[in-house]
Every structure is written in C-alpha cells, then in structure tokens.
C-alpha cells in the first residue's frame, strides 16, 4: 500500500541553524501538508500546498518557515533559523483531491533544537 515517507526520522540541530525536513507524498496525490506536534500537545496544522503554491497557512507558519516542491516527488519544509520552541515532531501528509478527503500522514521527523 502506498505511503508517505519522511526523512530524517530524527534531526538534532543547534539553535539558529537552518533545517530542511523532507517528505515524499503518495505518488498520485496533489495536496500536501505539514503539521507539528510539540511533545504532550495536540497536532497543529502548519501549511497546505497545491499546484506549487501555499493554499493555506496557520499563524505558526511565519517567515521562518517555507515549503517547496523541488521536483516531482519531494516536498520539503525549511526552518530558516531554528528556535528552542521549534522542537517537535513534524508530520507531512498528502491527499488525493481538493474535496474534503482523507489525509495520509507520514511517520514524522522528530526535531530537537539545542
């Protein structure tokens, strides 16, 4: 069964450093998302992406964050200058269609900012 994959599974970085989290969505899906889950808290929406542009973003997704689909398979989340409070599990998700549809999640990347 097709699935969303994410790399790396765990990333440790120093405060102020840039990180890029990578995702490979399900191949025939057109809509892509990033969510995050700070330890012990709810899963929070960051951004949705379609047709090479952001379609929706949350208040969390400020200028420090950016997303990109650099080729036909990868979808990336970049954090320009990491802060301690960016430490969280980051989940990528994808869905097939624009309509209210199932979002399939990847296994997540645990980001630890020291």
């Amino acid at each position: 069964e097709p699935e969303v994959t994410q790399t790396p599974s765990h990333q440790v970085t120093q405060m102020g450093q840039e990180v890029i989290l990578r995702c490979v969505p399900i191949s025939n899906h057109l809509y892509f998302y990033w969510y995050r889950q700070i330890l012990g808290q709810k899963v929070e929406f960051l951004v949705s992406f379609y047709n090479n542009e952001i379609s929706e973003k949350s208040e969390i997704f400020d200028d420090q964050f950016s997303v990109e689909r650099p080729d036909g398979s990868n979808f990336t989340l970049k954090i320009r200058s990491t802060k301690l409070e960016d430490s969280a599990m980051y989940f990528c998700a994808s869905s097939e269609s624009w309509g209210p549809d199932t979002q399939y999640f990847g296994p997540g990347t645990r980001l630890t900012v020291l």
Partner: protein, 111 residues
C-alpha cells in the same frame, strides 16, 4: 482557532471489552476523521465520516457523527492489547483544508 476536545483523556480496559471515545467540536465541518498514534510514532488514519453521514463502520470500528450536537464517537469493539494507543479525532472546517485535531484519548488495553 477552536480546538476539538475528546473524552475521556485516558481509558483503561480489559481485552475483549469495548472502548468508546468521544469528540466534540464547535464549528461547521466538512468531515471528521479518526487517527491512531502509537507512542512517539506516526498518525494512522482509521476512518472518515462526512458531515452528511450519521454512522460508519470499518471492521471493529464504529464511528457516529451528530452534527446537531457537534460531536462524534469512536467505538472499538472486542478490544485487543494491540489497540493500545492514543486516538485522535480531527475535523475539517467547511471551506478549509486544514485538519483541527482533538487532544486525544490514551487507550490502554490490558491483556
């Protein structure tokens, strides 16, 4: 933004018993989805129920949706130790694509 709330926060049952988890929300929704998360792992999609549906089944899972009460429930029948996990509801507001997640129910099934 308004967040979904789930109850109970934690539930401990014996293998073979049924487990019921509830979710409430405050907005108008397109659909509501339930996910399972094993400790520190990814989110596994369980079932989606659309706003015009009242009940849906998938294997040992039964989901109900009451849009007048803005609530949903997930029933797991004949639970197994492998069902031990956190369960989250996530709803999609009308006109949006973002999922808003509930706070989750931690289910412990004792063998």
């Amino acid at each position: 933004s308004q967040q979904g709330e789930e109850d109970p926060q934690a539930l401990s049952i014996q293998e073979g018993e049924n487990a019921t988890m509830n979710c409430s929300y405050k907005t108008s929704i397109n659909n509501l989805q339930w996910y399972r998360q094993n400790s520190g792992r990814g989110l596994v999609h369980l079932i989606l129920i659309r706003s015009n549906e009242r009940e849906k089944h998938s294997g040992r899972l039964r989901v109900t949706l009451d849009t007048s009460k803005k609530s949903s429930s997930l029933l797991i029948t004949a639970s197994r130790a492998a069902d031990t996990a956190s369960y989250f509801c996530a709803y999609m507001d009308t006109g949006r694509r973002a999922l808003t997640f509930g706070s989750g129910t931690r289910l412990q099934v004792q063998p």
